[in-house]
Symmetry: C2
Subunit: 394 residues, 2 copies
Amino acid sequence: MNAKTPFTPARRAERMNPSIIREILKVTEKPGIVSLAGGLPSADTFPVQAMREACTKVLRDAPREALQYAASEGFAPLREWVAAHLNEHQRMNVTAVQVLIPTGSQQGLDLAAKVLIDNDARVLVETPTYLGALQAFAPYEPTIVALASDHEGPLPDALAAAAGGARFAYLLPNFQNPTGHVYSEARRTAIVVAAQEQTLPLLEDNPYGDLWFDAPPPPSLASRWPEGVLYLGSFSKVLAPGLRLGYIVAPPALYPKLLQAKQAADLHTPIFNQRIVHEVIRNGFLDTHVPAIRARYKLHRDAMQTSLVKHLSGIAQWVTPVGGMFFWLELPAHIDAVALLPKAVEAGMAFVPGAAFYASAPRRNTLRLSFVTSPPQQIEAGIAALARVLKAAA
Amino acid sequence: MNAKTPFTPARRAERMNPSIIREILKVTEKPGIVSLAGGLPSADTFPVQAMREACTKVLRDAPREALQYAASEGFAPLREWVAAHLNEHQRMNVTAVQVLIPTGSQQGLDLAAKVLIDNDARVLVETPTYLGALQAFAPYEPTIVALASDHEGPLPDALAAAAGGARFAYLLPNFQNPTGHVYSEARRTAIVVAAQEQTLPLLEDNPYGDLWFDAPPPPSLASRWPEGVLYLGSFSKVLAPGLRLGYIVAPPALYPKLLQAKQAADLHTPIFNQRIVHEVIRNGFLDTHVPAIRARYKLHRDAMQTSLVKHLSGIAQWVTPVGGMFFWLELPAHIDAVALLPKAVEAGMAFVPGAAFYASAPRRNTLRLSFVTSPPQQIEAGIAALARVLKAAA
């Protein structure tokens, strides 16, 4: 801070930085650019008509309750819905008293970190991992340990070796942001066994799990070790992110402290939003809406896969994602994706360089492509433009 | 946490506690109880029709933008509105780039604490002070210093004496929760002079400032020392708390770190809510709505004042509030308001004991009464019931 201000920043403020992705998005999301950068759900999937009807109903039937202060835990019927949904789809066995509704699952990351991380305590993450989680954890001053990982997630041996004294491992088993990778059944079992042996709690983040294309991913980690896993879910990818609604499912021993952290952070999540979303989903809306999103996103995925094969075979390497929103490209070792980005924007497309997703030792020859934000017919133009700048840089 | 859980709480979690007020409200807000406890705005003031029209308009004209991810700073037109509003009503001179929209002003307290408080750093507060602020600050492990205060706010000499090395003083100049007190013009001047001399930054919290009855309070502290005051405002008391919208106005030197803390905490405040509220207020709605709230709350205040004079003269002492939502009662020295509460609930009314609002050395013979939640015709019954249990306890 400059010399004129009387404010002294806290030590933790030095660990806080602007989101590189958000800075990139400001530059790249201009008209005429095919953006494969932002992790924005397709706005074509937003349930606008259902939202209209729900707003009308909530403001007609319960306006006083929908606009007043409300419980920090969240709207009770929505918590019931979340528990029932997870018991049906994630083979979990939880009750509504374990469910807390945060202001988006990003807040779940903040609350978990607030309750669990002391300064200099170790936290284990995948390599690479979700940038927003690194940002949520940073103010609590942990020592982040990046676990050796392959296309099925972190290696169980690496997790076991790093577990001693760590506060938790942060894991994204389904269609991870940024890589799109999914843990196999065998990897899930091995991870949970290793964590249990080491008494290492897990923070399982599952914003993308419902977005599978051909078959659902194996059941959650939380279903395998209920008392050892703090689970996060989100309505951002199956309804709309602008409402900022997620959910936390906590082991009963951990719930009270998360609730106190929530009260202190913002009293409660907007009850207006909670009632509207509950109204939208209470009668099975997602049973048809989510399959429609899956079918749409699969077409997007196919369009990008076809374009990548056509334009980037032999130049970049990737594992075709079977769900979620992202391709993760490995470029020739000498190419720096950060340096490549301005040239790509000049050529008419944008991506996110991969380096920001590494807690340490960034691999600079990587990049993330979102296949859901731009329509399929634009995707090929974007990939073709990327191929041109890559070939020029080779 | 119990023996079965593998989770280890962070040290700061020991400082976090359930909100005593929220626990009280669960017990007391039953049918048949006249609740003068909760700080809930009157639901009769919620602009339901304007909300309906705004929802319709936003979901018709900008559904994709209202439901998508958005900027961490907040919705630009709403930030413009806030800056213009403060320049007109608080004699400030700020621009939209200094405005950040948090998920309720409670989140403003959390973000300010996150950016400014190191463990064991000193933070100065009024005596008594807003309980929610003590809860927001606690996870960052400050040493809270309670300043000697009278009915015009903290004593400038006390502030100056405690200022050395403190990170900030947290001040509520207008109709403070819980006491309803308002700083005089002279006190504001003296506080700001003392703070400037000591280079002590101020965190000014003003959720109630628009709710004056006969004359507006003197201008904000921020208007007197722009680079030294972080200012918080709220839409909860002039529109509706269930939307969770507040605003932070930060000196430019402090803004980037607050923004980074906001990104890490929950990415952004629900853009749906921001666009709806902007639609409601953009054409001068508050110019008629806020005066209507003032007139209504003044009638409530008058009803409670009349009832207190009738039933509690000579038993309790109070300063009649000239705005806001609360009376603060001082009872005879031997009466413990915490012990009195169950008897009051049995007699058919509820209040909030004052002890929770003290950072240290609680005065247990104090209590807070909200005059806005219950209708005027119920207020007398509530005060009469309070008088009965007080006389029985005397």
